[in-house]
């Protein structure tokens, strides 16, 4: 018996009771109404009316008899008179209450007058021979009474009619009431009937529904059990994940697979969703949470793959969830999670197969093109240049044909290993197929000449490496490569074109007799060739002592010689004196700067030591040191060794550094300067103000001197900005306690301006051009 059925039954009882009460009330109402109307039935009025009519008639009869008696009286007439009188007296007495009950004016008077008249006639008739005249008089009197009675009768009639009309109306109302009640009761009865029928139907329906519900419950339970059997035996997890706006979360349902994948029981996850997230790889967790946030924002399903480390084994899982907003404001995701570790591994392998050469393990053409595209984009942003080296093995086909493919393959693997070793980790070594390899170099110098030189050096290194003998199947094999180089640094260039250029350059190398390197750009080729020649000449020059040092004197404000700057010059056998601008850059890019710098340092110190006795007082010498030289791990020891060997005081040596040095690894710079300063070596900052001058570096570096660059000094009198910079550098030096020296001072006016603003020392044509130490000797004596 369901709730609804009970409700119906109670309602039915209520309705039945209501109908019964209504019927009872109707019956009582009808009864009262009927008895009220019955009591008011016009019978009384009829009696009254009739009584008056009879009274009127009998008064008329008595009047007639009296008149007849007045004419002639005999025994019969007398008897008739007496009878009429008796009747009237009787009527008068019976009507006594009637008179009293009538609420009409004049009734009492009439009653009294009639009574008096009747008594008078009765008296008169006692006489055996009544007087005719008195009978006539009585007749007249009764005539008047008759008239009064007639008028009264009319009024009684009217009243009676009125009462009848009222009662008729009452009856009509009663009839209406009865009709209405019958209709109402009929309606109620019908309603009751309909209700009964409906109730029966409802009960039947409810019972049917109850049965259906039970069946549905059984079906549902079976379905749930079946579902659980399926979900719990499925690889992976079926889950519901719920999240409330306050951040609290849980897994209202999760299949048993949760234990296997996460090591968490469904019950624990149902209590707190956080345990699942804790099981995720820390690197992947933020990504999963971010995807959840996205899904919550746009209410779209999301799929995410992440790692879980369970018992030390890493596995990849994939989760898919579709969000739905719940009535209580929480979000509910329905989804599934499964293990995709095998697929990931397969994907990795496929990716490897797709992007790597299976023989050598090197990136293939596709990956190379992809990286090249990235490199081009990067070049456009950083401004750095890159280079493609197209390497083809000479006579590889012959090896393949004579000693078999296995030997060829072995050789290719060996070549790949050597190529890999010959470049930085960031560079790409790829195999295009056959005996073709490509090396992509990135992050070379910003200027094409610089990049070309760097690429050429690496190319030469590769040439050298691949020229070394190989051991192929126990036999020594000697092979050579041809290398084509194409520079890139321009985004406009298409990667295919780039590769084609390197390829063409490689054919040029083949055409040039193999085992060589060629640039695609003829200008580059020329430049590189020239540089190569120059480099060779420099090496030879270094060996043969073609480099010499010139010194430019430095004076203080008072005009006293305080030292000199050593400047390197190349006394070329054919070209004469070559200025440093033409060979220092090449020396730096080729690494020749190291032996050259060492030579400069040693020579300067040695010459200064030789000069000392001549000048009478110790002079200082400033030596320029390049970044590459300064960064060399043995730099400090080398400097100290030179000082010791030369026999000069460490304080006589001043090392000039450039600003670019300050940009890298300030800690190491500070440490090196500190170590040398501890021995008394001085430090000067060259070209201050031309580069990325940073006051914070300036403050941290333990310098002794800063040098105002010649470009500021040149226009210090004509350009307000240069004047301001010069003044500022001087002020800065004074503030930081640094010695300030100006270079390139050519006029006395420039010198005076600088002196005026507090500059400590000067060098320039005004004081003396750079000259060999021998010529400089005189200066000390001159001043």
């Amino acid at each position: 018996m369901s709730m609804a059925t009970r409700l119906w039954r109670r309602r039915f009882k209520l309705l039945t009771g209501l109908v019964l009460v209504l019927v009872a009330a109707s019956v009582v109402h009808l009864w009262t109404k009927v008895s009220r109307i019955e009591n008011a039935l016009p019978l009384d009025a009829l009696h009254k009316e009739r009584s008056f009519a009879v009274l009127l008639e009998e008064v008329g009869r008595l009047e007639t008899e009296l008149r007849l008696g007045a004419l002639e009286i005999d025994a019969a007439r007398r008897e008739r008179l007496a009878f009429a009188l008796d009747l009237l007296i009787l009527r008068q007495r019976d009507n006594r209450d009637l008179y009293a009950g009538l609420q009409l004016p004049g009734v009492a008077e009439l009653h009294r007058d009639l009574g008096a008249a009747l008594a008078g006639v009765d008296e008169t008739l006692r006489d055996p021979q009544p007087d005719a005249a008195s009978l006539a008089a009585w007749a007249e009197r009764f005539g008047a009474l008759r008239e009064r009675l007639r008028a009264l009768n009319g009024r009684v009639f009217e009243a009676s009619i009125g009462q009848a009309v009222t009662q008729r109306a009452d009856l009509d109302r009663l009839r209406n009431t009865v009709s209405a009640m019958i209709v109402m009761l009929g309606g109620l009865g019908m309603a009751l009937g309909v209700l009964l029928v409906r109730q029966q139907r409802n009960i039947r329906e409810l019972e049917k529904r109850d049965l259906a519900l039970q069946a549905a419950e059984v079906a549902q339970r079976e379905l749930r059990e079946r579902l659980e059997r399926i979900t719990d035996n499925m690889p992976g997890v079926i889950f519901q994940y719920r999240e409330w706006p306050d951040g609290h979360s849980c897994f209202p349902y999760a299949s048993q697979g949760l234990r296997e994948l996460f090591g968490v029981s469904p019950e624990a996850a149902a209590a707190d969703g956080g345990v699942i997230f804790s099981a995720m790889h820390p690197e992947d967790r933020p990504r999963v949470i971010e995807l959840l946030r996205e899904s919550a924002r746009d209410m779209q399903p999301r799929q995410v793959e992440y790692r879980v480390i369970l018992d030390g084994v890493e596995s990849w899982l994939s989760s898919h969830g579709t969000p739905r907003r719940e009535a209580d404001g929480s979000l509910l995701w329905h989804g599934y999670t499964h293990d995709v570790t095998r697929r990931r591994l397969a994907e990795d392998e496929i990716k490897h197969l797709a992007f790597y050469d299976s023989l050598t393990g090197l990136p293939n053409r596709r990956l190379l093109m992809d990286r090249l595209r990235h490199a081009l984009a990067l070049c456009a942003r950083t401004g750095a240049q890159g280079a493609l080296l197209f390497i083809d093995l000479d006579n590889f086909k012959t090896l393949n044909d004579t000693r078999g493919h296995d030997c060829g393959d072995t050789l290719l693997r060996l070549v790949a290993d050597r190529l890999r070793q010959s470049v930085r980790l960031d560079d790409t070594v790829a195999r295009l197929g056959g005996d073709e390899f490509v090396i992509m170099l990135e992050g070379l110098g910003a200027r094409p000449e610089e990049a070309a030189t760097q690429a050429e050096q690496i190319g030469e290194k590769i040439l050298a490496l691949l020229n070394l003998p190989y051991m192929v199947d126990g036999q020594e094999y000697h092979g050579t490569p041809s290398i084509g180089v194409a520079l890139f640094g321009d985004r406009e260039t298409r990667v295919e074109d780039l590769l084609k250029r390197a390829d063409l350059a490689m054919y040029q190398a083949k055409g040039a007799g193999r085992n060589t390197l060629r640039f695609f750009d003829p200008a580059m080729q020329t430049l590189v060739a020239a540089n190569s020649a120059l480099e060779a000449e420099m090496r030879q020059g270094l060996r043969q002592g073609e480099f010499i040092l010139h010194y430019q004197p430095q004076f203080d404000a008072g005009g006293a010689l305080i030292g000199m700057e050593a400047l390197v010059r190349w006394q070329h056998p054919q070209r004469g004196l070559v200025p440093p601008g033409e060979f220092i850059a090449l020396a730096e890019s080729t690494g020749l700067i190291l032996p050259l710098g060492q030579w400069v340092l040693e020579t300067a110190c040695a010459e200064l030591a030789a000069c000392k006795p001549v000048c009478g007082r110790p002079l200082g010498v400033a030596v320029n040191v390049s970044a590459r030289q300064f960064r060399h791990p043995d730099f400090v020891e080398a400097v100290l060794g030179v000082i010791e060997r030369s026999g000069i005081e460490a304080a006589q040596l001043k090392i000039e550094l450039t600003e670019s040095l300050l940009l890298e690894d300030v800690e190491e710079t500070v440490e090196r300067i500190g170590r040398l300063k501890a021995h008394g070596v001085g430090f000067s900052l060259d070209d201050f103000g031309t580069g990325y001058s940073s006051l914070s570096y300036l403050k941290r570096l333990p310098l002794d001197q800063i040098k105002i660059d010649r470009s500021f000094v040149r226009d210090v009198l004509s350009d307000a900005n240069d004047a301001a910079i010069a003044r500022t550098v001087i002020a800065l030096g004074q503030t930081l306690g640094l010695h300030v020296i100006a270079e390139g001072v050519e006029t006395e006016a420039q010198r005076d301006f600088l002196i005026e603003h507090g500059c400590d020392a000067f060098q320039g044509y005004l004081f003396g051009r750079p000259a060999p130490i021998g010529e400089l000797r005189c200066l000390g004596t001159l001043h």
Binding site: L85, L90, R93
Partner: protein, 176 residues
């Protein structure tokens, strides 16, 4: 058949008599002995269904057996003790006992039909005296019908008011 009917009627009368004497209910008439009326004119005539006419003087009537009844009436100053004969006795004497209804006609011409049920059901009195004396015409005499009004509430109904005939002059059978 007629004898049997008579016997039945006699038995009924006896029964009524006995029951009336034995346990006269409240308001019921009871038999009374009265001094005889002096000889006088015939005041009542009866007409049987067969047209046979009988005439009765007051003495003739009272010879049928006198009863006394104290009752209220419908009219003012009319309540009192009346003596007379039972209507049923008169009708039996006049040969009207089996009539379905009879018409009673007064001296002034007023008349009413009384159904048989009335005299069979109640001991209706044809009063000839009030308080032992004759009734004047102006006092609704000399003969008048008195219903035993106190015996039965039904007799208070206005219908019976009209059947209280006074100045009774004639009784005739009503043709069915």
């Amino acid at each position: 058949m007629k004898r049997l009917r008579h016997a039945l009627a006699a038995f009924a009368a006896l029964f009524l008599f006995v029951s009336a004497v034995r346990a006269a209910p409240a308001g019921a008439p009871y038999p009374v002995t009265l001094p005889a009326f002096p000889a006088g004119p015939q005041v009542l005539s009866t007409v049987a269904p067969d047209g046979a006419t009988q005439r009765y003087s007051m003495a003739d009537l009272e010879a049928l057996g006198t009863w006394e009844l104290t009752t209220s009436t419908f009219w003012p100053g009319d309540d009192g003790t009346y003596q007379g004969v039972l209507l049923s006795a008169l009708l039996r004497d006049a040969g009207l006992a089996e009539a379905a209804a009879v018409r009673l006609v007064a001296q002034d011409g007023f008349s009413q039909v009384i159904p048989r049920a009335d005299w069979v059901t109640w001991p209706v009195l044809l009063a000839s005296r009030r308080d032992g004396g004759a009734m004047a015409r102006r006092d609704k005499g000399p003969l008048r019908i008195i219903y035993p009004r106190e015996m039965d509430g039904a007799l208070h109904d206005a219908v019976y008011r009209l059947r209280w005939i006074w100045m009774l002059a004639r009784i005739e059978a009503v043709a069915e």
